[in-house]
Amino acid sequence: MSGSSDSNAADVTPAVVARDLVKRYGPVTALSDVSLDIARGEVFGLLGPNGSGKTTFIRMLAGYLAPTRGQLLVCGLDVVRDALPARRRLGYVPEAAPLYGHMRVGEFLEFMGRLRGLAAADLGAAVERVVARLALGDVLRKSTRALSRGYRQRVAIAQALIHDPEIVVLDEPTNGLDPRQIIEVRELVRSLAGHHTVVMSSHILTEVGKTADRVAILLGGRLLGVRAVADTPDLEDWFLSLT
């Protein structure tokens, strides 16, 4: 599933391409003419206050919402026209880290693996891989209802990684976590870079600054700017100058 399985030609295609992307809910414009490219293997942060359009962009990328206008490509695949192949390239963690309450952690991961098209022969190894990576061994047989917020988030990330997707999309991944859990998620996201492209949203400036390679600032549904974190000595100043 990962980028390594693609041809060289496909590998030079950006992981995500958005062109003049618009999303309207009736009279309300949630996202307005957003154009950006996200390179393969980078951690890309979407930064902005609540209601800035981050989640709308993330949901369109994940295939949950359809753009009103414009084009959104995932590894060269249109998220509307080639919806199913595009979704196969993605692993998505919604903001609420939703899990099925009637399942145990192991069952949930197996279900999500099967749903994402993993063959029965590969399923066991895939579950073992994500359980080891997210340190879920202790809760594997626990009901998902009994998990702490930190473990819920880890399981939600594990389901997104189960099919080894090229792109991992995280909506506010550190929301509601305690400081230690935030550090763990941050380290995990950094460890995904290179093998996976990570697109994450956050309204916490320091979070994005410490995790992302590049940052896009959204406000009122408009893209105000995109910059490499390494080229931006003071992210806060840049953010304030734009907003």
Partner: protein
């Protein structure tokens, strides 16, 4: 394993681990058992017409409650976002929920087969109307499950979903009662929309393709609309 099989397995697991399902099934069978005993002793006739009509009414009351969770709960718990961003078509998600709902409702109906067995053992019933009555119930249950699924896909509030579903079923039930007020050809349309009008002939042993077509067409329409509404986002 195909996407439908994966989804169906999950839905069956969710359906049959819910206490609501068992409570409602118990209520259904208790009320039926009471009615069966009462009508058998009172009428001393070996038929299930009363039971079928009772099951018709109980289904209209209980199936909306059984189905109200299907999409509404997924929406409330945000798990719908997981399902709809997975590489599976919406139609498989809808079908899996429909089949799991059918399994539950038909399971309840299967409990009522006992009454036919009792009649067969201790009387000499005409099995034609019993077979056609069960066919009517299967079609009726399928339609109610499809309507319940459709209303559940519209809201995250389970009570609203059940109320909408009940409302649609009641409107269909009584559709012919307003026919005499309507000008032609709407009076004919109202009569032909009637749920009971298509149920009653089968219960009394008359099976018409038009009655079967009514249930199948409306159920397919409800499933189609559910799938469309899930796709429109």
């Amino acid at each position: 394993m195909s996407a439908l099989a994966v989804l169906l397995r999950k839905e069956l697991h969710a359906t049959f681990t819910s206490p609501i399902a068992y409570v409602l099934a118990a209520v259904f069978l208790l009320v039926l058992g009471y009615t069966f005993s009462l009508t058998l002793f009172a009428t001393k006739t070996a038929n299930l017409i009363y039971i079928f009509h009772q099951m018709y009414v109980l289904s209209i009351l209980l199936v909306p409650v059984l189905m109200m969770r299907s999409f509404a709960e997924e929406r409330r718990a945000d798990t719908l976002e997981l399902l709809l961003t997975a590489p599976v078509r919406e139609v498989w998600i809808v079908l899996a929920k429909f089949l799991a709902g059918l399994a539950l409702v038909y399971g309840m109906y299967a409990g009522a087969l006992l009454y036919a067995v009792i009649l067969g053992l201790y009387g000499e019933p005409d099995f034609g109307p019993i077979y056609s009555g069960y066919l009517a119930l299967l079609l009726h249950g399928g339609l109610l499950v499809a309507i319940g699924l459709m209303t559940s896909s519209l809201t995250e509030n389970q009570v609203v979903s059940a109320a909408l579903s009940l409302g649609i079923a009641l409107m269909l039930w009584f559709a012919d009662s307003v026919a005499y007020l309507l000008p032609a050809p709407f009076d004919v349309v109202a009569v032909n929309l009637s749920l009971i009008g298509h149920f009653r002939p089968m219960v009394t042993g008359s099976v018409f393709v038009s009655d079967i077509g009514y249930f199948v067409t409306l159920a397919m329409l409800a499933l189609f609309l559910t799938s469309r509404w899930l796709s429109e986002r």
